[in-house]
Symmetry: C2
Subunit: 267 residues, 2 copies
Amino acid sequence: MSQNTPPHSAGNTTPAPQTDGLTGGGTPAFSPLYQQIKSLILQSLQAGEWKPGDTIPSEFDLAARFKVSQGTVRKAIDELAADNLLVRRQGKGTFVATHAEQHIQYRFLRLQPDEGDQRSEGPAERNIIECRRLRAPAEIARLLGLRSGDPVLQVRRVLAFHGVPAILEDLWLPGVPFKGLTVETLAADRGPMYALFETQFGVRMVRAEEKIKAVAADAESAPLLDVAQGTPLLSVERIAHTYNDVPMELRRGLYRTDTHHYRNELN
Amino acid sequence: MSQNTPPHSAGNTTPAPQTDGLTGGGTPAFSPLYQQIKSLILQSLQAGEWKPGDTIPSEFDLAARFKVSQGTVRKAIDELAADNLLVRRQGKGTFVATHAEQHIQYRFLRLQPDEGDQRSEGPAERNIIECRRLRAPAEIARLLGLRSGDPVLQVRRVLAFHGVPAILEDLWLPGVPFKGLTVETLAADRGPMYALFETQFGVRMVRAEEKIKAVAADAESAPLLDVAQGTPLLSVERIAHTYNDVPMELRRGLYRTDTHHYRNELN
DNA sequence: CAGTGGTCTAGACCACACT
DNA sequence: GTGTGGTCTAGACCACTGC
């Protein structure tokens, strides 16, 4: 399973396990107990033992289960919480993070109005233009970690703020995990699309990378965004990953930035 | 000073301080000990007691100094390290983070080549076009937290990769902390500009925000970037802050994105 | 070797939420 | 009140660095 021996170390009456077992073989890598616990918790998350929004067992319960001290479990959970996989709530418990209840909705959307307003914008109007199944072209397949020709879903939609179109985006999703996704499902849904992915398909998006360029609106995109051809637009290519860094979505967006901007924090 | 009572709690023989002192007054906010320690360490950083690259006292020394346990200091340092203000090195000590020795040079520059190469790019060729002092226009002043008419420095430069210009940027710096900065100083310098700011002016940039838009190259910028007028460019406005979130630099860049892209991680 | 950060434990107590 | 996470402590031991 994991890369190291699990933290059981048989019947120690005295405290610290810390032993790595396996003197032979080739496990030169040392990984601290709390990292191993972190991996075990992650496995439970991947396996769906606890679903988004669920509360996971208390630190003491987990400590008992893994035969370590509560402090060690705590450190593991600390890191998972820092990665936004778990959410701690004092007095209540620790919960599996979700795109739904999370009051920072649209966590991955960095486009925001230039001044004032802040996030009073609300969820924007969605308009699905297209939703079809196809066989993955080579490039799409590569970015999604699939083979050319594997089934994928493509969705095209426009997001608008106050009636003004602002985002045109194409999504590609691997066909297998998203079997059964239809334009009706998407259209009927309110709230973040990633929340729908969680509830309907058990796919939780955890992390994403974006590559941004400036491009000119072409004949196809210009009318959809209600701008003149040649207007500079932000091109945003996003690859979103589930647990374990498995890519699960490719998204290519064109953002109008005349009244909005892409906001980023550098640390 | 801080918002809470310092963590001394007089002569406790028995362990935990945790008491907030001050039963009277109006300090409803409770802040944990390690946060107070964090503030104290931050104050020392701001005051320049330890400079970028310096090693700070060991956890035990700090624990003695602040009259708390080593674990509490550890947690404070953990957070400061997570914020990239400190860097821990096992066996050696804890160091004040710096833009110089940090092997992730150009920490705030997100533009990178489209494929391969990765960071083999190196530090790019710098070409300073202009460096002048002026009185801050209203907008610049506002963004830098100054008053209109306060002295500021403006620097304009072009960065190129392999001889191809890629970035045209204007910098505005508050005149007072950067007194004595000349075009010669800048031109003579190798390495990150933020490293120079540390060594020459004691100003360490800690955090920055960027607002990104897509714009068209105009008559002024096009020739400097060697592109046709109207070419889509990334407009990147950055406000960089020192300790305590004090804004210390405004930077407005135009990025060519024909062979490079702006990379971002979403968590 | 001594000194530093890194891990692990165990127990005490505080703050918060629900019942 | 009970149970949860949050803080603080104290001490033991491990891993890395450099003398």
